[in-house]
């Protein structure tokens, strides 16, 4: 007869804890000549099956292609690359925890998760652990203001997203004179809008309802599907173009609700991340026609490298491997593949996979790739690659800016009068 069952149970718990503590074996990193790239990616949660999937496919494609070409060559031998990933459930704190756990397994070469939020959380962890972090999809300039030495971003920073849209608009005919900017309440969207407003004013455009509206009346909560308050604030100011500096959800909601509320821009809509994402077209259907979006990569650029070939070849091979259509491709996959490629190039240049040597090699890297030029400034941003703009025409992404890459002219005004 057991008199103190609670005691027995408590003992059981302590034993379980002890077992968990001792039982977790430390499988050290891949032995032999293999190299491991480790990445926390979102497979469930808000980005799961969408942007997280695109990023994962980009990493996988890059590792596959590298290995097919014999792996990374240095020190007189070839080294195959293994990709290790774990689901961060689209939670930034989990991303940080995963990268920390990677460090315990001696995985020092890290590819970023999707999104500025997760990357912001992961960067200090990598810095503390001496891991090297190559950022594929976190553009917020705030990441680079903390003086981290181990984070390198291949993509153009947030300061270029809205400015590229403004530059595109300035080159269209008729050029808009008034723009309204709706911005989500997150670092990336707000900082993009900051520089965007300045560029608009430099180009002689007026920002309505006011130049600071994107921090107040036209600021919307992140990840919502109701942006009516921002649209109502714009109503009556008759902008020529409405720009949405946010992610997919907010852009879809804004365009749908805009027609409900009778807030019609005279010429058209533009948004940052959303239009060049395949899900945008499938979500909005006919309403997505004519929307302009800024994107990190288009296949028309005349860039190439020895690993992926030309930009067009990358597109063909990637879409064939993962079943995408050549006119609705996820640019986030190109970002991811470029990050992985930059890491590989740095290892080759350093002649070793030692994180300190790789870090130094990355800092001094200057490479022309299918993605464009990759070179990092002193804070780790890639300011040598521009952004481009696409317009959705007949459910396809059509490159319209810069004009030397545009094979098809933009449909402008995008909205029938």
């Amino acid at each position: 007869m057991i008199r103190r069952p609670g005691a027995l149970i408590a003992v059981g718990i302590v034993l379980a804890l002890g077992a968990a503590a001792c039982g977790t074996s430390s499988n050290t990193s891949t032995s032999g000549s293999g190299i491991t790239f480790a990445a926390p990616v979102s497979q469930t949660g808000a980005f799961g099956q969408a942007e997280g999937l695109y990023t994962l496919q980009g990493y996988k494609f890059c590792v596959q292609t590298l290995n097919a070409k014999g792996g990374i060559q240095y020190g007189g031998s070839s080294h195959q690359v293994t990709l290790v990933t774990q689901d961060d459930q689209s939670v930034s704190a989990t991303s940080a925890q995963i990268v920390d756990q990677y460090n315990d397994k001696s995985y020092k070469l890290i590819l970023s998760p999707y999104g500025s939020g997760a990357t912001t959380a992961v960067a200090p962890v990598a810095e503390r652990n001496g891991q090297v972090l190559v950022d594929s999809n976190g553009a917020d300039t705030a990441i680079f203001t903390h003086g981290y030495k181990n984070t390198f971003a291949v993509l153009s920073p947030s300061s270029t997203y809205v400015t590229t849209i403004i530059d595109t608009l300035a080159g269209l005919n008729p050029a808009p004179k008034t723009v309204a900017i709706i911005a989500a309440n997150d670092g990336f969207s707000q900082h993009s809008a900051d520089t965007g407003v300045k560029e608009a004013q430099a180009k002689g455009m007026t920002v309505v309802p006011s130049a600071t509206a994107y921090t107040s009346s036209t600021k919307v909560a992140a990840n919502v599907t109701d942006v009516s308050s921002a649209l109502i604030a714009i109503k009556g100011t008759n902008p020529d173009v409405i720009i949405i500096s946010a992610h997919l959800n907010e852009a879809v909601a804004a365009i749908k609700q805009a027609s409900e509320l009778g807030v019609k821009p005279k010429y058209g809509f533009a948004a940052t991340v959303a239009p060049p994402t395949p899900a945008f077209i499938s979500a909005l259907g006919t309403k997505s026609e004519g929307v302009i979006g800024s994107t990190q990569w288009v296949p028309e650029i005349s860039a190439s490298d020895s690993i992926f070939g030309s930009a067009k070849q990358f597109l063909t091979n990637f879409t064939n491997t993962f079943g995408w259509s050549a006119t609705q491709y996820p640019y986030q996959a190109a970002d991811a593949a470029a990050a992985c490629e930059a890491l590989a190039l740095a290892i080759q240049k350093a002649g070793s996979a030692d994180p300190a040597a790789v870090r130094t090699a990355l800092a001094g890297l200057s490479a022309d790739t299918f993605y464009g030029h990759i070179q990092f400034d002193s804070t780790g941003m890639n300011t040598t690659k521009p952004m481009y703009a696409i317009q959705i025409q007949k459910s396809a992404f059509v490159t319209i800016y810069p004009s030397n890459l545009a094979s098809t002219p933009a449909i402008w005004p995008a909205i029938a009068a």
Binding site: I9, A10, L17, A21, T24, Q89, T120, A121
Partner: protein
């Protein structure tokens, strides 16, 4: 008769006066036998063991165990207000977030040392608990749950909008590098010890409260509040103190968490899933005892880590399914179930299912 004679307490009662402080302490010390002090001794032994273990295990496991310890503390804290006092708070995470933000704002904006910021966070938690406790604890059952949920969501939104101070949706970062850092970063061993001490303290507080007169008052409020107040228990004070203690522990956990994460957003630290996890751990472990929430916290945290690492995209799905199954088959809590099994020698899960169904 000297005041420390063996019949001190009895003498005091016979003489019709209250015992002095010294008499109380001496009586307590004299009444300690092995039978009633072994839980505390065992607890101390376990803590010593786990401290020693720290030298042997690797950093990754330290981080995992730190998370387990944090949830042990959170579960114990929830149990105080939800399990003993019976006021199921569905917004307990509000203290977590407040503790985290008070710490972060003080350290980032005012370069205050962590050792000053943390007590400030605890104080903030208690203050907030009293502030919202007094109006909200008048509500019962579901209404109290919803009101606290509303408070948590509301607090998050407010912090989300105070961008100049808290960074709002742009997040806040505690400086930890170079001379910017007001306090050196603890590192994994440091946080392991910190969370271990927090967990041990929360268990100790819980145990002391449960066995004290205050504990009886809490349970009385749970069982029948009207009767409790009619025998002279000031139910408002009891409820507010329980709420405050619970809030203090959670705020302290939030402060440590903030320092550990370094960088976070309002949605991270006001995440309702923290509250859900707290509730699950207590309910599945078994509410109203010390061991129950402990078992629930350890078991569930280890389980969810295991699922996340090994099951990839199915991990949330399986986790949800496990919750459903456990709630149906162990409605009184797994620990309580095994306790009943050990005492009644009847092991019938079906009987368990029949307990609460219509």
């Amino acid at each position: 008769m000297s005041v420390s004679s063996p019949a001190g307490a009895l003498a005091a009662i016979l003489q019709g006066r209250k015992r002095t402080g010294r008499e109380i302490v001496v009586d307590w010390a004299r009444s300690r036998t092995l039978a009633n002090s072994w839980p505390a001794l065992a607890g101390l032994a376990v803590v010593a063991l786990l401290l020693g273990l720290q030298q042997l295990i690797e950093p990754g496991t330290m981080r995992l165990l730190s998370a387990v310890f944090m949830f042990v503390a959170l579960a114990q804290a929830w149990n105080i207000i939800g399990g003993y006092t019976g006021y199921a708070s569905f917004g307990q995470v509000v203290f977590f977030g407040l503790g985290a933000y008070v710490t972060a704002v003080l350290m980032n904006n005012y370069h205050v040392s962590f050792w000053v910021a943390m007590p400030a966070a605890i104080f903030g938690g208690v203050l907030f608990a009293v502030l919202i406790g007094v109006p909200l604890l008048r509500l019962r059952g579901h209404y109290f749950a919803i009101a606290t949920l509303g408070a948590a969501e509301g607090a998050r939104e407010v912090i989300n909008n105070m961008t100049p101070i808290t960074g709002g949706g742009l997040g806040i970062t505690i400086p930890t590098f170079g001379d910017q850092a007001p306090t050196a970063y603890f590192g994994k061993p440091g946080f392991y010890v910190a969370f271990l001490i927090l967990a041990a303290a929360s268990i100790a507080i819980s145990a002391v409260l449960a066995r004290s007169r205050f504990g009886y008052a809490m349970v009385a409020v749970h069982e029948d509040e009207a009767a409790a107040s009619s025998v002279g228990i000031n139910t408002t004070i009891v409820k507010v103190i329980a709420f405050g203690v619970s809030g203090a522990i959670v705020a302290c956990a939030g402060a440590f968490y903030a320092f550990q994460q370094i960088e976070f957003y309002p949605t991270d630290v006001f995440d309702p899933s923290f509250t859900v996890l707290m509730v699950i751990m207590v309910v599945i472990g078994g509410s109203g005892s010390i061991v129950g929430p402990l078992a629930g916290a350890v078991g569930l945290e280890l389980l969810s880590q295991f699922l996340r690492v090994n099951l990839g995209i199915y991990n949330q799905l399986i986790f949800g399914a496990i919750i459903v199954v456990v709630v149906i088959f162990f409605p009184q809590g797994v620990v309580n179930f095994f306790r009943d099994v050990l005492t009644t020698r009847r092991f019938s899960l079906l009987e368990n299912v029949r307990r609460y169904r219509l």
